[in-house]
Symmetry: C2
Subunit: 255 residues, 2 copies
DNA sequence: CAGGGAAGTATTGTTAACAATACATGTCAA
DNA sequence: TTGACATGTATTGTTAACAATACTTCCCTG
């Protein structure tokens, strides 16, 4: 008797696509307004059109992608209102969640977090921008993971990824993602089982990120989808495109 | 020049289906494990198979529906672990959110909440079980709506609906959904701008609901999908089926 | 009568062709 | 040169047929 687990490719395929695009957005390899054409996704992942469309629908249902009728799918471009909602939601959830983790964490969870912060530090040392961004976001998801709550893990994953889009659009200067030894401070408070301090630090951390947004900023152009999806781990040399890809011409003007 | 808004039927169709099934689950007209066959949905809503499948995928992505490969879609049947996660998440979010509403509500928001509580009272007076259940759940979503946060509104909608499924599975006795003048008490605290009391009451309210769950309970059978979806507002005479529909035979045994 | 297996039916999963829409190109006139 | 218009191309949306899987029923055997 073998295991019942279906090993069904269909769901896994979609998860693969969704995860990949999630990661790419999270580490700002995919800029807001980038067009995600069905054909490109089909070729990049070697799947049929149906799978591509299903994946795009899932991404759209989580606010990562925007579907425009007869026009296709685009990486979402949150506005200030979206940003307010996302940060407000995070401020409702994360301090409380961090406090809970401080109260209940076990040895394995703490080690996971410590390892992660170490990775963050080494990424910052090597000035790998995408890695820094990815790990910075992932820290917040990891808090939820360590708490053991699957629902909140998924919720935070969405919130963090959408935050990446927000920072991509409105982040002011290189400081917006990088000055984060704050994670280590938060982790110290967690380790000390100081729930209220951990909670306060988490809130302050979020408000710091929020404060570094500049909503008067002019939007950047999209990225080149093919080159982004080509590299399996995105750790490669995908530098931000200066010239706007063809597909985005009509998005150039703000009003 | 007319408005740009597309009035595109495709997205609206899916939203219609999703909303309808959401409502049905929320007011416990659709029991856990009920099979949602594509054919039934196509006929009930007069849409093609594509739309039905897309709607089911969306519902699945929010944990309301479970997709089994080659077997179809079923109303989700949360287990104790799911229940723990959902309630934990709600306890992280709702007290904080309620406190915020207490601090920031405006006249229109307060009126909305008061009207709603009045409707709850009258539903309880007329002993309309489904209406009571629906309104009880909706109160929590309405808190988020009044807060003006779209993300949290959607999140709470999902949480409340999944809570309905949990209560349908593990609710002990008729008390599990109905003894809720607590909503009025919470609203009083909100109106008095007493954020910390509102927060405490919200938490206590959730813990009361959680305490009334009995995880040793044997699961009920599913509902008849066609009759549920037939009535536009579900206010009709859909009484819970005692006999298990054909489709659910094989779900009867636990192991 | 119970259990197992085989054929038929029903449902879901997938693909491919078609239709509809938007986009790009090139032409013409002012 | 610029703008509008028409044509052609590319992309998305939809449908229907086909394939694969699961379910039901019936029959056969013990």
């Amino acid at each position: 008797m073998r295991h019942i687990r279906d090993a069904d490719s269909s769901l896994d395929d979609e998860h693969r696509i969704v995860d990949r695009i999630y990661s790419a957005v999270m580490q700002q390899a995919l800029a807001p307004r980038t067009k995600l054409s069905e054909a490109t996704i089909c070729e990049s992942f070697g799947v049929g059109r149906m799978r591509a469309r299903r994946a795009l629908l899932l991404l759209a249902s989580q606010g990562i992608v925007e579907l425009r009728s007869n026009r296709g799918a685009f990486v979402a471009s949150p506005d200030q209102r979206d940003a307010d909602e996302i940060f407000e939601a995070r401020i409702h959830i994360e301090p409380s969640l961090t406090a809970q983790v401080a109260q209940r964490y076990d040895a394995a969870g703490l080690r996971t977090l410590r390892d992660h912060v170490a990775k963050e530090k080494s990424a910052r040392a090597s000035e790998n921008r995408q890695e820094i961004i990815r790990l910075s976001g992932e820290f917040h998801v990891l808090i939820a993971t360590v708490s053991g709550n699957g629902f909140l893990t998924r919720t935070l994953r969405e919130l963090v990824t959408r935050t990446s889009l927000i920072v991509a659009m409105f982040g002011s200067g290189p400081a917006s993602c990088c000055r984060e030894d704050e994670h280590e401070t938060i982790l110290d408070a967690i380790e000390a089982r100081d729930a209220s301090r951990a909670s306060d630090l988490a809130r302050a951390h979020l408000e710091t990120i929020r404060r570094n947004l500049d909503f008067t900023k002019t939007p950047d152009s999209g990225s080149d989808l093919v080159s982004v999806l080509r590299s399996p781990s995105f750790s490669g040399s995908v530098t931000s495109q200066t010239a706007a890809p063809k597909e985005l011409k009509n998005f150039a003007n703000g009003s």
